[in-house]
Each structure stands twice: as structure tokens, then as C-alpha cells.
Amino acid sequence: MIMEPMRRRGALVAGCLLLAVAGHALAAGDARRGADLFAEECGDCHSAVPGKNKKGPTLTGVNGRKAASVADFAGYSDSMRQSGIVWTSDRIDAYIAAPKKIVPGGKMKYDGLADAAARADVIAYLLALK
């Protein structure tokens, strides 16, 4: 993940604000640790580059996005299309903790990230993506 320092700082501030607005119980994560965790856990299938889709859709701009709504990504499952999810930080947290529980029949081949602090870091990173 390559971000200019000022831009990264701005993005982090924006991410924190979004978390605050959401008003949920998630602990604030560390976006820098989240970047590493994203590379380890998510990066094979998802890109942080705007408009770049892999097996999964780009995760830039995921916050507030309706599920299965990336226009040029064709790989959504019917389950995801019909889930009605809007990706807020708490919904992302629940989903990456247990994807198959939140979207049964979904395509994502990922068993989940059990560590809540690690999920918070990943979410902080995702929210910081511009």
C-alpha cells in the first residue's frame, strides 16, 4: 500500500470520523497495522486500488456502499446480491468475522478473522482507503 504521508494522515482522520459517526462499539483500529493485515488476509482476492477488481471487488470506497454494487465487478453471488447489506464498519466487522454466517451461500472462500482487534485494524485501513 503506497500512500503519501499527508494523504495517509488525512485518510486516517477521515476514517476515525466515520467510526465516530457510526457510533458503534468497535474499538478504533490502527490503519497501518490494518494495511499489513489486509495484505496477509485479503489482498490476494481484493485490491485497494480504485477500480481494480480481482476475484472479489475493489474495497476502495466500501464504507457506506451497498453490497454487490461495484458496477464493473461481475463475480457477485446471488446471496450477496440479495443480502441487502450496506457496508458500515460494524457490518464489515461481522462479515469478516464469519463470512458464511452473514452471507450463507456467498462465494468468498474465507473462514473469517477471529481476532477482534485485528478486524478493527483492517476496518480502520478500509475506511482510510480513498
Partner: protein, 457 residues
Amino acid sequence: MIGSIKRRLFASAAVAGGVLLAVTLNTPAEAVPSYARQTGSDCAACHVGGFGPQLTPYGVKFKLGAYTDTDGKDGKVPLSAMAVMNWTRTAKDLPEAPAHFNSNNNSAVQEVSAFLAGRLTDSIGTFVQATYSGVDRVSSLDQLDVRYARALKIGDKEGVFGVSFNNNPTLTDPFNTLGQWRFPYTASDFGFGTGASPLVENLAGSVLGLNAYTLWDNNFYAELGLYNSVSKSTANKLNNSQVAVGAIDPGKFSGPGTYWRLAYFKDMKRDNFSVGLFGFNARVENVDDPGRADRYRDVGVDAAYQFLGNREHIFTVNASYVREWQKLNYTFDTLAASENKNNTLNNFRVATSYHYNQSWGATAGLFKTTGRADSGLYGASSYNNKPDTAGYLLQADWTPWGKESSWGAPWANARLGLQYTGYSRFNGGSHYIDEVNGVDRKASANNTTMLFLWLAI
């Protein structure tokens, strides 16, 4: 000459690789960008160092899923191409200059390959490689792996179940430790190889097999394959292996050859490991004199570890040990071409690699082959009648592209590398008999330096 080679190869296909001229040995290299185009992923997602063939867990699962994962878009063409060019220098001139080449300092377009590689249906995919050898000047069907796979759920456990139709027992393996897929991933056809190897590693292109496999609960891998030899004429049409080049009778399986594989695989994302067992059994008889068959029984253990982290610093270790028991019913009883009816061959390999930023790589490996002394099988080239060969491999390479943000991704792929092979023992000891010239030769005379450029599109 051909008669003696024929007898020797039939006596033990496993040992022939170590005593035939090295120019007949092809080490296939594989790099398949059509998979990257199909999935939208970068090469580095599937391959350590951003270039094939060393698989990451993502690559393992892509392979076991029958090469069918996709980004969902239609219109992907499952075609790729590859070329390997190299320059090779050996410490002392080759015993005999290969046809079209010099006795040393050879440069060649070693192989040019076309691949049919990718998803054909939701459940069927291919890895098929046709190669033109610029050294042997022949074309071949190098690799054939056509797979069907589907997900399976029993209770709360899930797995992948698949079937593979293929032409090489270890081609189907998803890890980086067995014959087809271990380091070195490319080697010079002007080099001297890494010594005799068990039968299971000498069958590429001369057999066809049907394998069933499963990766259960993401951890337990099991595979069972049944193989039969193809006829000599078919083998010569399809491939440029030792069979075609040397006009050698590869023998014929008496009954099916059986390949089995068990492994435990644990992917912790940050790092992963596998430990496994594998084996191959076959009875090989002379096509022109069927009846008595030489029996080969190979059993091996292997282990691998990868630290991937955030992909900036990647560290891997791959190791395998194979022991082969040979019962030479035909070679000993009928041909009287071996000293012993029962022989053994042991093959140990280990390699460790480090890659920085998916671009700069360094790999070091050790190889060691030992076996029971047999004057009939090894006496012509070995002072102590043993096949023992040992040495080390060092490689440094640069892979400029292959990452998500790389120029020309996923079309432009290249690796530039320098590889050195050093021998402490060859054909039994630090000195051996150069069969071609009938003179003494040092093992270290075979030390080989190769500069290579490997391109894929």
C-alpha cells in the same frame, strides 16, 4: 551404443538420468499469465516472488479448484506463451559437444512454450503445455493436466474434490516439494542435472494417469492416481523426453502404476506449512519381451514452510526425501545387466528462498543422491559402482513485474537470474569415469553457471 543405453535405461529408468548426457535432460519451466488474466489477480498472489511456479496457498487452492476461479467476467482466453533463454558455462568442457552447439559457453533459446491454461467450464480447467526445445530441436506435449473439481460439504465441514487426467505423477501435486515442482524451477539443458532420481520423477510424457484428490477442511490433502505407460510410438510423437531423443524403449507398465499422496496443510495467512507422504509403485516390463517385470517402489516424505507476511519479505523452505526399492526381476534374471536383484536409491532435496518486495530473490538448495553399489547399473561411469551424486544450487533473480501495480500487468512478465550448480560428488565420488571419452573426470568439472532470461505473456 543404443543397445547398451537401452539395456541400462530399461534396467533402471531411475538411474538413467544420471548417466545419460545431460543434454537429454529437460527441466520444464512454467509460468502462466492467462491465470492472472482470468482471476484479475497479480502473479504474486499465486506465486512466491511474483513468478511461477512456487505456489502460495492462494495458488494451491486455485490449482485444486481446477484452475477455474475467475473474476466473473466473460471473454477470457486461456492461452499463454513462455520462453526461456540461457547462457551456460561449465567448469570444464562438456565430454561431448551437443549437436548444433559447442562444448562450452553455449547460449540457447532453451524452450518456447504455448499453454492452454485456464477455465473451460465452471468445474473444468486445464494446464497444458506444448514446448519447442531449442537445444534438442524437437517439439513436445510437455505437460497435460485437465481437471474437474467441485466443492463438497458434509455436515459442517467443507472440502474440494477433484479428478485430474494428466501425464506426469507429480505434476498434479499442489505443493512445492515433489519432482515436478521443486527448485530449481529452470535448469540448463547443458548442465549435468542433480543425479539419479526415482522412477516417479522420470515418467513425464511417457504415462497417462487418472487421479482423484481432495483437500478436506482446508487441511487434509489426499490423492490417488492410476497410471499406464503410453506406447513407444505415442511417447515419441508426444514428447521429447529421453525416450524420443535416445530412441530408447521406455518399457511398459505391467498393470497400473499407482501414485498416492497424503499431506497436512495449514494456512495461517501470515505463514503456512505442509507435511506429507507420497509414493509410487510400478512394474515395468520390456515391450519386446513381456513377462518378467522390474518392480519399483518409491516412498517419500516432504515438508514445506512459507512466511508470507505482508509480502514484503517472503521466506520459504521446501524439503523432500524419497527412497526407492528396486526389484530387478527382468534386468537381473533375464538380462544379467545388474549385479543385484534388489537395489535402493535415496534422494534428498532441500531449498530455502528469500524474496524482497516480490522482486528480488535468492535461493539456496542442496541435493544428494545415494544408492546401493551395482557394477552392472553404474560400473561404466562410477569407480565405486554407486550412483552417489551431491552438491548445491545457488540462484539470484530479479522479477521486475508481476505485482498488482506493475507495468504491463498481467501481460508483461520476466525473470532474469543467475544460477550456479556445484558438485561435491558425481556418479559415486569426487571423481568419476567420463564414459564418452573413457577418461577420469572430476565431479567439480561439472560445476555449471547459467544466466537466464525467462519471459511469459
